[in-house]
Subunit: 296 residues, 2 copies
């Protein structure tokens, strides 16, 4: 079982993968949920960026992949939402990781001329950077751990990355917890190829809570279309945990909606709601039903 | 009348400011709309980033400011949405600018080692960069024109910026129209200080179309709350042009909704809908009513 995460070693996605696997084993919700990968047959493959995780799942070189989807400070990870639409993948799990960004460097704080990190991490530390490092050059990398690895090269460079990355790459933690809000969490999704259900059998039943994710493209010319489809869920008391719009990329003002709801498509009520929604929208893409994250 | 835009000279925001002022004069929708600033009393002030536009409006050194709010490829500009919530500003106008990103440099394509631009522009050219400049270092700047100015320093640097920036800074256009989709548009908002209505009197009536923007924070513990507030608009046949969620930053899974609707708060029907919505939500912030963009 090969699991793709953002590389190199020490990324938050790697942490998410390990956490998700542990949660999976701990939260065995009934025997049917206990069909996840076993430790001894696991290997991590480090990918350069989020696109690569999706591409390697498509070409079969990964069995599973983990990707960040939203953060409590900076919101959606646009590229992940776009890839979920473009690729034939199914979501089989989610997990939430506490993010504590640190400023790591070989040098001293006063020597820092360049700060490197993933664009999401830079955005999560926007106020910190503006107040403490105004004018310092910001460089983007494919992951926070990649930034940490690059920061080993020069003393004038610093990376925004995890405390673990400091250890991995022999950097000093100059400042910790530097994100703009104390509480910072990122939600990650575990994905597989849609035509590989055998890799990770769909879970029905069990006593844990499920989530279902869909993408809908409304009929633009019908006002109140979003209200109408939300009604299908409201009518059945199905709780929506998230509604996120994303440009259709056809024209400005034209959107897709990413909806997460509580429940499993194997439940009749969910099946019925989605069936009705499908008849009212221009396009509906089912992303999957998966055990909801439950803090241990 | 001092108008704040992203600087230095040649930014898309500057183009948006000029376009908005022109549209304002051309689309004089009744005499009441014709109270915009006059050409001869105008001056542009270049700001380093979006936060500065908001800060300078707050401290009174700007009368008006323009900020990007959404793009047809990359979606919302998170920082603008956050600032609209945090600052006491009122939206008095909008405009839409066609974006044609070019790769600008003093050097040749094969010499490029570093590409600079605003994070939104880098994201709009994501596929292009991955396919053509894999491994090249990406640096973020406060605006595309700032990237162009920096790219004048070394031949191994290139900027993603407008064709006009090439002229302004004496750079070569190595490649044009490099964004991932041919059609690329950014919507900009014109903002003023909320307690300075005199600067830019609220426009009531006239024969042009209006939009109204609000932010709502729902009551989390009430399922179906979003459906319920959308119902207030649907009931009155008020068309919503955009619904965007944004993290409340309190905890993951807790969101604010930014809603744009057709109509003016001076219309009774809109007033009534918003009054009803306000009674159902945890918080409602009125961002303003303003003439809707109309392509000339």
């Amino acid at each position: 079982m090969i699991i793709g995460v953002l590389g190199p070693k020490g990324s938050y996605t790697e942490k998410a993968a390990q956490q998700w696997l542990t949660e999976k084993r701990i939260n065995e919700c009934g025997s049917k949920c206990n069909n996840g990968p076993e430790d001894d047959s696991l290997s991590l493959q480090y990918c350069e960026d989020i696109q690569d995780v999706f591409s390697f799942i498509r070409d079969g070189s990964l069995d599973l992949g983990l990707v960040p989807v939203e953060n409590s400070i900076e919101g959606s990870v646009g590229i992940t939402l776009d890839m979920l639409l473009e690729h034939d993948v199914t979501i089989v799990g989610e997990t939430v990781v506490a993010i504590e960004h640190c400023l790591l460097s070989k040098g001293r704080k006063e020597d820092i001329r360049i700060i490197l990190s993933h664009p999401q991490a830079l955005a999560q530390c926007r106020h910190f950077l503006k107040e403490n490092f105004k004018g310092v050059e910001l460089r983007t990398t494919g992951s926070t751990s990649h930034a940490a690895r690059l920061a080993t090269e020069f003393e004038e460079m610093a990376a925004i990355a995890s405390r673990e990355s400091a250890q991995t790459y022999g950097l000093n933690v100059l400042l910790s917890n530097i994100q703009d809000r104390e509480h910072n969490h990122t939600r990650f999704l575990t994905i597989v190829r849609s035509d590989h259900p055998a890799t990770y059998p769909k879970q029905n039943g069990g006593d844990c809570a499920y989530k279902t994710s869909i993408i809908v493209y409304l009929d633009r010319d019908r006002p109140g279309a979003l209200y109408d489809i939300l009604g299908e869920f409201s009518l059945r008391k199905i709780n929506l945990t998230r509604i996120e719009s994303r440009p259709s990329k056809k024209t400005l003002g034209d959107y897709l909606f990413y909806v997460d709801l509580e429940g499993n498509t194997s439940d009749d009520i969910i099946k019925e709601a989605i069936y009705n929604v499908e008849s009212k929208v221009g396009m509906l893409k089912m992303l999957g039903s998966y055990p909801a994250f439950k803090p241990v």
